[in-house]
Symmetry: C2
Subunit: 346 residues, 2 copies
DNA sequence: TCATAATATGTAACCCCTTACATATGAAGT
DNA sequence: ACTTCATATGTAAGGGGTTACATATTATGA
């Protein structure tokens, strides 16, 4: 076989045209500028010699890489998490039919911030899809001053000038509250996530606000922190029960905590939903498989990631590809009613 | 702020040295060739102006990308699969401390073969980590003639000249058989995977061979195909029971089928392991969580991927980086004894 | 003291494309 | 027949690094 390297010059020489013509022929946007006969000749040669353009050269001259970076926190087990699986799936699905590829950009969480990684990733991606931005970007200015377009997934911060795609967690909280309230529950406990989580804040606030509007006040004691952790929720259930043995519903700010709580309730001989209804938040894949299947707020991570990718790619293909992106897009949260919540006394 | 672009020329001018010196200073391998004083001056300037080398240019001139491609089949749900999660995790973990990044290369399975994607990925990765190669490489010659080093994960084909990292499924089958036989089981049924799967072939052969050596013959009727699918195994259990109601053990060629079989047994009121022991293969994450926890053969996917990545990266950092890789590395399979298998009549 | 070697740095070619601008050719308009 | 335009193609200047080779400087040894 011929191991000789074929570059644009070789092909040009064989086709007896200039490299500019070859360049035009191999790029869809400029192909029309080449005469059909020339095109045909070139195509044949390209095929014959198996020529493929050198992407590095393209990148260098064109200043684009046709690659986007997907920024994940580097956490143990991250690739086993449904949340990130959804994002990966969405990005892959969207990109599959485009000419774009993606690179995983894993950033250490502990103490490190974006600054350090600027070198590592700064240059060779055309845009960034970012998860958990607040863990990396110590100062919001870093995010605002990124030299390439960024889209932040599943977070919204109206004070920061960048593109967000997310969900209205506050509204989600309200919907959850409405559901529980409508079923007749009045003695309600809450399992909350960690303080630093904006989502958690919003979910709680929405939930409480709705009940307040109905004239219902949740006893502060009945709001217990379990840091979004299954095992922590598991162990906090009894605290809750000690404070008020007559609660009839628990709102867990995420599904993991709902799972933990329900497992413990089962062990304590308390039937769920019969004795205590439980509602979660996120709609993880396991939610439907749980016994009983968990009623929860569906957060469309997959859709969020899809839309985020779409926004980014569209932008990259526009004339403003180099400029930063800005905007907020809110996708709907919805209640998924399954078996873990029922009418009171039913 | 200065939006001016800093390239190696700018820094060279400011440092009052030539670009060659800058180049040496920014590359670890050549840094020692630069005088300490010069180095200091350069480093300060780099820091001051936030200079980062243009990777595309590096790639073009150095003909390396410091990026490896990870080839996955593009299947729905692939990112939710434990198998691929393990691979992703292993690759990420290994690469995290290196200067390498990875790109996901998703290839359509149906009908398509590698040839078509040559252009898409052929150039801009230094090496490839390949899963399920037999789905993409219609002819083995394609794999052998790749222009960049490749490592095939979890498959071994001694006839093909490339690098494989995998497991001895035949041996695994034997170990499983030994376990079941040692527990006193003699009436044994098998749930097999699809015919095209090499793994399945090997697992079965190993299992059967061991029993044969012990003078035990499995009735061909008791070997039922369930294509590695949980639901299929679920529905095939009764067939098995009809053929021989007195079987005391089932060897499922993968965990999924074991799960399906056990679910059905439970429904039929047949206690497992008490009445029928079940052993699987793979040791998926759910195996430990199942009720009862599944005894199974552990296939170290994570380790396989780690080792594969290691082999590839080491090779890329050697002088032979451009040459193709060849070899076979076998990692151990081991029995993980949990609760789904017990001594007969215990 | 001078030839020789070791060290530090510079020069320039090369990697392979894209694209603004220039040129050549032929068609259309008057 | 001549200017004017549209179309097809070519020329050459980047884009930002790496590195073989050349050169300048200093240290080493007899």
């Amino acid at each position: 076989m011929k191991d000789k390297k074929f570059n644009i010059y070789e092909i040009a020489r064989k086709a007896n045209v200039s490299i500019a013509t070859i360049s035009r022929a191999i790029n869809p946007e400029t192909r029309a500028k080449v005469a059909p006969a020339t095109l045909k000749k070139i195509d044949q040669l390209i095929k014959k010699y198996g020529y493929t353009p050198n992407l590095a050269a393209k990148h260098l001259s064109g200043n684009v890489t046709k690659t986007i970076g997907v920024v994940f926190p580097y956490l143990p087990g991250i690739f086993y998490s449904n949340y990130y699986n959804h994002i990966l799936a969405a990005v892959s699905d969207y990109l599959f039919d485009t000419h774009y590829q993606f690179k995983m950009l894993l950033l250490k969480v502990a103490g490190d911030t974006w600054d350090k990684y600027d070198f590592k990733v700064g240059e060779r991606v055309d845009g960034l899809l970012i998860t958990h931005w607040f863990k990396f970007f110590s100062k919001k200015s870093i995010l605002e001053n990124m030299k390439i377009p960024c889209v932040v997934l599943n977070d919204v911060d109206r004070k920061i000038k960048t593109q967000f795609v997310g969900v209205d967690h506050y509204l989600g909280g309200q919907i959850a509250a409405n559901h529980i309230y409508s079923l007749g529950h009045r003695r309600i406990a809450m399992l909350s996530g960690p303080d630093w989580s904006m989502d958690n804040q919003q979910r709680m606030k929405g939930f409480i606000a709705f009940l307040n509007k109905k004239g219902l006040r949740i006893k502060p004691d009945l709001i217990v922190k379990a840091d979004y952790l299954e095992h922590m929720a598991y162990s906090k259930v009894e605290t809750l029960l000690k404070i008020d043995p007559k609660i009839t519903a628990i709102f867990a700010c995420n599904d993991q905590m709902a799972f933990g709580a329900m497992s413990r309730l089962k062990e304590l001989g308390i039937a769920s939903p019969k004795d205590i209804s439980v509602i979660g938040f996120d709609d993880e894949m396991d939610a439907a498989k749980f016994t009983p299947p968990l009623t929860t707020m569906h957060v469309p991570i997959y859709d969020i990631a899809t839309r985020g990718t779409e926004i980014l790619i569209n932008h990259l293909q526009s004339k403003d590809a180099k400029k930063s992106l800005r905007g907020i897009e809110i996708l709907p949260v919805r209640l998924v009613e399954r078996k873990s919540t029922v009418k009171i006394n039913s």
